[in-house]
């Protein structure tokens, strides 16, 4: 009985990291993605091409590679060490590793989100902008009062897919030794020599994704009070 409690405690702790990675990635990647989208549609060609190249590289390579790349930054690019960086930020080495993972995730997901934003923005008929213009609205007012709501509505289904994928991608954090839900389950399986931790982990993931699916489905329904 005690064993189950111990395992569940370990898994819950792992889930803490999983959830933190998930939440922080969303929190930063959602706005950063919009910024990336604007940059990739910029009339200023160098910015546009820089952004397009970055998005191409990030989307064309494994997320795991990007996480590893982040962790090698201090040594190979800045001629420093992870330890020194952690000390400079006065956090533990483990937290520093977690930070590398977060950076890679935010960058990666911002690139994916930016493509969704871009598709959503480009799908808005030009007539919507023109109607706003002839009504004397400024560019910003047209975006905030007319375009944005329509974009959000259009992109919610593909965003939902990415968000569900993000939940599962969090398990990649273990390449830098972060003890996320899956890693915690793996440790427990090895330590107690039973398979049940994997089943518990499965239930954790499914519950979390189920909740998200409900939430996103509700939002989608809320927003589809009109047809486009």
């Amino acid at each position: 009985m005690d064993k189950i409690q111990d395992i569940l405690m370990e898994l819950a702790e792992g889930f803490g990291y999983t959830f933190a990675l998930f939440a922080v990635t969303l929190l930063f990647a959602l706005p950063l993605g919009l910024l990336f989208a604007f940059a990739s549609m910029s009339k200023f060609k160098p910015l546009k091409w820089f952004m397009k190249t970055l998005i191409w590289v990030i989307r064309g390579t494994p997320l795991m590679l990007q996480i590893l790349f982040m962790s090698f930054l201090p040594r190979y690019v800045f001629q420093s060490t992870t330890k020194a960086w952690a000390a400079a930020l006065s956090i533990s080495i483990n937290d520093m590793m977690f930070l590398f993972v977060v950076l890679a995730f935010v960058l990666n997901y911002a690139c994916y989100f930016s493509e969704i934003y871009r598709a959503g923005i480009e799908a808005i008929p030009v007539g919507q902008y023109e109607a706003g213009k002839v009504l004397g609205l400024s560019k910003n007012q047209i975006f905030s009062k007319i375009v944005l709501m329509q974009v959000i509505r259009r992109i919610l289904p593909p965003m939902s897919n990415e968000i569900i994928t993000l939940v599962k991608d969090t398990s990649l954090a273990q390449v830098l030794g972060v003890v996320d839900l899956l890693n915690a389950a793996k440790h427990a399986v090895n330590h107690y020599v039973i398979l049940t931790p994997f089943i518990y982990a499965t239930i954790f993931y499914l519950l979390f994704n189920g909740l998200l699916t409900l939430l996103l489905g509700w939002a989608e329904k809320k927003l589809s009070y009109y047809k486009v």
Binding site: G127, Q128, A131, V134, L135, L137, S138, K227
Partner: protein, 273 residues
């Protein structure tokens, strides 16, 4: 000097010359219809008037004030303001789908009203009270406008819940909301099923009776004849002929105008057969 004076407008899209020196004038309260086959620059002319397109050269003045070209000293917000000189009703309505009929009409009114507030601090209770009052006033006005186009029962409906004719009437109310000096229509009934054109044309006729200044691009020749003080026939990027409806329809002078009417009547007889 006439109320609206358009002088020598030129507009190219890349290599194609679309407007090749368009000049005309109209008085306040007049209704002018622009006719001609498609591809002859009618839409482009309207878009140059309300500054959705920038003409390459020429000038536009309303009530003695130059609307185009914009003087260099004026900034961008002025050009946004300038647009309110002209109202625009689009061929395919371009209503905002996420807003109700009422919200479609009040949106721009509220934005304009906000500019008149003296206090800029968004937290000042004074400003919020003033804003609330303005919003209520705008809403009442918008309801009246929607009633005038016969949609008092549809104020809370979304565009997707309205027929094409009803949507176009909301679009007319939305354009009227900012009391533009001149209201432009670009083929307001072309996207409608034939049985729905009548209700829109009726509203435009009613606006004429109220003395609105209007420029109407249309293929409804019978309607144009009834509602207009003046007809402009455009061909190949220029005004080929202009005159009263009687002059233009009953005794067209230009060869091209005659050919245009002949082709249309042929089409009508073909359709009848």
């Amino acid at each position: 000097m006439a109320f609206l004076e358009v002088k020598d407008l030129y507009k190219n899209f890349g290599e194609t010359a679309v407007l090749k020196g368009v000049s005309f004038a109209m008085e306040r309260g007049e209704v002018v219809s622009v006719i001609g086959s498609s591809g002859n620059g009618k839409t482009t002319l309207l878009r140059c008037l309300n500054l959705l397109e920038t003409a390459d050269s020429g000038s536009i003045s309303v009530d003695g004030e130059t609307v185009f070209p914009l003087s260099k000293t004026k900034d961008k917000s002025d050009s946004a303001q300038q647009r309110l000189t002209f109202g625009m009703v689009f061929q395919n309505f371009n209503l905002f789908p996420q807003y109700t009929a009422l919200q479609n009409v009040t949106l721009a009114m509220d934005v304009q009203a906000k500019k008149t507030l003296t206090s800029k601090n968004p937290f000042s209770p004074e400003r919020r009270r003033a804003l609330k009052e303005l919003r209520e006033k705008n809403e009442a006005e918008a309801r009246q406008l929607l009633a005038r186009v016969g949609l008092e029962n549809k104020v809370d409906n979304y565009p997707c819940e309205l027929s094409g004719g009803q949507q176009q009437r909301v679009a007319i109310a939305r354009a009227l909301a900012l009391s533009p000096d001149i209201l432009c229509f670009d083929e307001p009934t072309s996207a409608l099923d034939p049985e729905l054109t009548g209700e829109v044309l009726k509203v435009i006729k009613q606006l004429r009776n109220e003395g609105r200044t209007m420029i109407i691009v249309t293929h409804e020749l019978e309607f144009a004849r009834n509602v207009s003080d003046k007809i402009i026939f455009m061909a190949d990027g220029v005004i080929e002929e202009t005159g009263t409806p009687q002059e233009l329809f009953d005794s067209p002078k230009s060869e091209k105008t005659r050919a245009f009417f002949e082709k249309l009547s042929e089409k009508v007889t073909e359709d009848d057969n």
